[in-house]
């Protein structure tokens, strides 16, 4: 019995050695590509973030943004953006957030007012949802649903006309993508609420 098992194992390796070897080689190649191109991709996303902050936080000036590394509830470091007007008045926050969508990870930017009571905007930084259905989360029509919603209680996804202030109507044919976005926003806001409140009173020291 033992010998038979051993022979089967040997046979598996004999059959699959090329697949294993290729997986190792390709994995190494992809790790190299990720290490080489990762910083550049991150810089591209950062530039895009700076360009949309004035849209996400009304009154914010692109040259008056302070980057902060804060610790969320889970103890993980998160980079957040504190947005000021040209005359150095704190206008609000932009927090990056990500989570699992229907097809792949969804990366979002969430704008909040200075008092952390209202969502002032939402922007989809990266997504690979189903074309023509889930990828409508990028559209202005869906993103506008979040503007003005309360940030002090969780958003709730509904499939009918919203009746409560904190309800968001799901996209037709893309309920999972809509739900993912809502969940990502709820978790990110909850995760950072206390720590951002602690940083709210401090003055601007723009880093860019």
């Amino acid at each position: 019995m033992v010998m038979a098992d051993q022979a089967q194992k040997t046979s598996y390796i004999g059959q699959a050695w090329l697949v294993i070897l290729l997986a190792l080689c390709f994995g190494t190649a992809l790790a190299f590509v990720h290490t080489t191109l990762g910083p550049r991709i991150a810089e591209n996303k950062r530039n895009e973030t700076y360009s949309v902050i004035p849209v996400l936080v009304p009154g914010a000036d692109r040259d008056m943004i302070e980057e902060l590394i804060v610790q969320g509830r889970g103890g993980r470091d998160v980079r957040v953006y504190k947005a000021f007007s040209a005359d150095s008045i704190h206008q609000g926050w932009v927090i990056p957030a990500e989570g699992q969508g229907f097809a792949d990870r969804i990366e979002l930017l969430i704008g909040q007012d200075a008092g952390l009571s209202t969502i002032t905007g939402m922007y989809v930084l990266a997504q690979k949802e189903t074309p023509g259905l889930g990828d409508d989360i990028r559209g202005e029509e869906f993103r506008d649903l979040f503007r003005g919603k309360p940030a002090d209680r969780p958003l709730v996804l509904v499939k009918t006309v919203p009746r409560q202030e904190n309800e968001i109507r799901a996209l037709t044919g893309a309920t999972i993508s809509s739900e993912s976005v809502t969940d990502i926003i709820n978790s990110a806001i909850e995760n950072l609420r206390d720590v951002l409140r602690a940083h709210s009173g401090r003055g601007p020291t723009p880093q860019r």
Binding site: Q15, A16, L18, V19, L22, A23, F26, A29, L30, V33, H34, L37, R40, I41, N44, E48, A103, D104, A126, Q127, K128, E129, T130, P131, G132, D135
Partner: protein, 209 residues
């Protein structure tokens, strides 16, 4: 092996006689989805060419080691690696285009054109033939995307590679840059290609008699 096409035949076949879009109807997803402008269409053509030629090279090099029942797994692994490299490259150096193409770059993995060339040619023929096949098919695919994108962008936006060609008076047929425009253009061009092919075949028969 003697009846296998030569490198030159593979190269020429890929461009027109066995054109992946007009003759084999492969790669319909990017053909319909990214041909609303020449820039996304040519970026997709370039990305597909890189993946196709690279996959053909690897598969041809290891063709003697392939186990028949594991070959599809090896093809997919190889194609997925090159697609990921392409996706990361576009995100690093062509960020706006990468966002515009969105999930269609990762979807190159399931483009039947690539796995079919690995199965039909690269896993059976030498490196030189596999490269010629990859280049020929890539040119054929680029030609097909360019023809559809040219019609759609010019009629839909009055531009070609974002350069104005029909003047500011052109109203822009919005339907041409939307999905129905892709189906209409592809259908008409396919019909045209079939008609042209049938006419040539009839002429050849007449001359033969």
């Amino acid at each position: 092996m003697q009846d296998q096409p030569t490198a030159l035949e593979r190269f020429i076949n890929g461009i027109l006689p066995e054109n992946p879009v007009y003759r084999q109807l492969l790669g319909m997803c990017p053909t319909l989805a990214v041909t609303n402008g020449m820039e996304p269409a040519m970026t997709m053509a370039g990305a597909t060419a890189f993946v196709l030629i690279s996959a053909n090279i690897i598969v041809s090099l290891i063709r003697g080691l392939l186990k028949p029942h594991l070959r599809i797994l090896v093809f997919t692994l190889t194609i997925a690696t090159f697609v990921t490299i392409t996706d990361r490259f576009l995100a690093a150096y062509m960020y706006e285009m990468s966002k515009q193409l969105g999930p269609y770059v990762p979807l190159i993995i399931v483009n039947c054109l690539i796995i079919s060339r690995a199965e039909i040619c690269a896993s059976k023929q030498s490196l030189g033939v596999a490269v010629a096949d990859g280049v020929g098919m890539s040119l054929g695919f680029a030609l097909a995307l360019a023809s559809i994108a040219t019609v759609r962008e010019i009629l839909g936006s009055g531009t070609w590679f974002s350069l104005p060609v029909l003047g500011s008076g052109w109203p822009g047929w919005g339907i041409m840059v939307l999905p129905p425009g892709a189906f209409l253009t592809l259908g008409l061009l396919l019909g045209g290609a079939e008609w042209f092919g049938a006419r040539r075949a009839r002429r050849a028969l007449t001359v033969g008699k």
